[in-house]
């Protein structure tokens, strides 16, 4: 004990001298240069020293883990002005430590950036954070901002209401009247978050490139583009509030405790066949009848009343595939050869950007039999260039694709969309 006291007093003197040299600069509300150290005491004497250190108030230390016993680490927050003194003290007493947090301000800045991403209300579509996933309200606000900023090019059409009475918003990009049209939808299956996120990016891309990119400008001078970014808003809200893995609509099913219908099995083409389920609890439940879901009916009505859509691209994830009709039958589509060749070209364009590999073919041969799907119906309506996309990835993250892949995914997919749109424009029918 006496030895320890002697040990203590000489060491502490050294410390006091050193700390006297470093006068605290209080009052600055920044944490630049501050660090967090993890100290490993190897005996009781060292613990004793650390306890004494903790009582030096002028150092401004904050022990996140108090010195208790030599088998337990001691974590201490050290403000920049005390760092040198503390380090010298530890070295002098041969107390081992390592730096757990190099710079607290950096950490706070990162955290702030993350928080800002999710909480700041952007004032324009240039402010909008494309590298993060957003909720319904943010995306609907984005749409309104985009329209306001580009009112000569973009308008918003409400094609119907979801089961829970949310507006089904479609952005219309148009440079003239009575044009044939091209349709994209994203998010019809709500858990496929990279699709809605890509839809936002596509919308911004279109307004950015019109007047700058000759191919897109030419397309828009001849065709309208319709983009439904959130084709299943009720499901989308549910993925945020309750179940990240929710796929279907949110309409209750009479006589069942299970909710929802698969909006991509609800179309009037091969409806109710083996490529869909008749069980309301199933993820591929086709629903009580064709077009029973308001989300589906709204698109059906729109397509029929427009009458001049020439390409229809329904965007899903995941699997990295580009698929054309049919899903309900093995009989080849009449235009199979052309659709296959166009798919090959679109996939080649896509791959050219980030080397992302896609497979392509008809739905039924490439992925699985699926009855009552969107693009089978639109194809039968006479929209020749009807395709389903399955975006990134192939299963590593699946539906939970990290946000830093949103833009690469959107960028590469856009090249495929452009290839299809350009072909549509060059092959009018």
């Amino acid at each position: 004990m006496i030895l320890a006291r002697k040990f203590y007093s000489s060491k502490m003197k050294g410390l006091l001298v050193l700390t006297a040299l470093f006068v605290a600069v209080f009052g600055k509300k920044t944490f630049e240069g501050d660090q967090v150290l993890r100290i490993t005491a190897k005996n009781e004497a060292q613990i004793f020293l650390l306890k004494e250190l903790s009582e030096q108030e002028h150092l401004g230390l904050d022990f996140w883990r108090e010195p208790v016993h030599e088998s337990l680490p001691v974590d201490v927050y050290v403000p920049f002005h005390s760092l040198q003194a503390v380090r010298v003290f530890l070295r002098y007493n041969q107390i081992q430590y390592n730096v757990m947090i190099m710079d607290v301000q950096d950490l706070l800045d990162d955290e702030e950036r993350e928080m800002v991403k999710y909480r700041t209300i952007p004032r324009s579509t240039d402010d909008f954070v494309y590298t993060a996933y957003h909720d319904l309200n943010s995306i609907y606000s984005f749409m309104d901002m985009l329209v306001a900023e580009n009112s000569n090019l973009v308008s918003k059409i409400v094609i119907g209401q979801s089961y829970e009475n949310r507006p089904l918003n479609v952005l219309k990009f148009s440079t003239g009247a009575n044009r044939p049209g091209i349709w994209f939808d994203t998010g019809i299956h709500s858990r496929e978050w990279v699709t809605q996120a890509s839809g936002i990016w596509f919308a911004k891309k279109i307004v950015t490139d019109y007047g700058r990119d000759p191919v897109l400008t030419d397309i828009l001078n001849n065709y309208d583009i319709f983009l439904e970014i959130i084709a299943n808003p009720d499901g989308f809200v549910y993925t945020h509030s309750n179940d990240r893995m929710w796929r279907k609509t949110r309409k209750p099913n009479p006589g069942s405790s299970c909710v929802g219908v698969d909006p991509n099995r609800n179309w009037e083409i091969g409806f109710g066949g083996p490529g869909a389920s008749s069980n309301p609890c199933s993820q591929t439940y086709h629903g009580p009848s064709v077009h029973s879901e308001p989300e589906v009916k709204a698109i059906v009505d729109f397509v029929k009343s427009h009458g001049k859509l020439k390409a229809f691209l329904s965007i899903h994830s995941y699997s990295q595939m580009l698929l054309y009709p049919y899903g309900y039958t093995r009989t080849s589509a009449k235009d199979q050869v052309e659709l296959h060749e166009l798919a090959r070209k679109a996939v080649s364009e896509l791959q050219s950007l980030h080397n992302t590999a896609y497979t392509y073919g008809s739905v039924i041969t490439t992925i699985y039999q699926a009855d009552g799907i969107t693009v089978d119906w639109t194809y039968e309506q006479g929209i020749k260039y009807s395709y389903t996309f399955e975006l990134r990835d192939t299963g590593r993250y699946g539906f939970l694709l990290p946000a830093d892949q949103i833009i690469p995914t959107a960028e590469e997919t856009w090249l495929a969309l452009m290839a299809i749109m350009e072909h549509t424009k060059n092959n009018p029918y």
Binding site: D243, G255, G398
Partner: protein
Amino acid sequence: MKVFCSLWLLLSLVKLSPAPPASQDPPFACRGAGDPAPPQPETPEDMASSGDLEPTHYPARRAATVALHQLNTRHGSPHRLFALQEVHKASAEDVAAGGRKYSLDFSVTDWASGSAGPALRCSAEVMFPGTERSSPDVQLRCEALQQINSTAQDHAFYQKYIAPESAVSAQHIPDSYGNVSEEMQPFWRLARVAASFIMLRESSENTEFNMAQVASVTQQESSEKQLMLEFVVLLHDLPSQEIVQWKLLASWSPDRGVRVLQTEWQPRCPHDTKPPN
């Protein structure tokens, strides 16, 4: 609704637990009036007749996925996890008692070594027996694959977490936004290796399994120098689009690799799930 669902859950637990479904029936406890539809087996025309298969189409891909699950059960580790890169060639033939045997030539990559990792060439025979509830049989050969070649990273990971006071516990890996912390990456991979035992066992020509998320990982007390981990995993089956939940207990060490000791299928009520984090 909630009461109804809880009641069903209780009843399903009280009853002899149903045999884990080899199909992708919707959660047992969430059946409404009427039984769940059986999985949608492809119609006879869907399965290509014996002979060469298109490598990019689903029959070949599903069989290759099964071979991949086998590969991961044998060689997966916290720092090694294989993914299917490409099927080069595939063929299938009918075999005795209604079974079907696939011959495959394919390449895999190691996710842990990033997208720049080299591809490994493999060949396999995958036999799906004729009986609905039997697991497939896989014969697999891959080039340049040592039996259990644990890396320095595996050893460091082992040393860190075999310590008696280690008590890892985490949820939602990845989280809703796709984030996986550095620390959780090896646990994520381990979960996937352990899940591969289940995916392999549950596979048929009508399934294509993937692990969608680790709902939770809870470290148990180490036993016989093995890391013991309890996982709850969500599997995604592509054809049925179902999310299937399994709880499992797995052990791992660099020497013995992953072993799965217990598995338990868990009902997942669509309207009674926890909110995502």
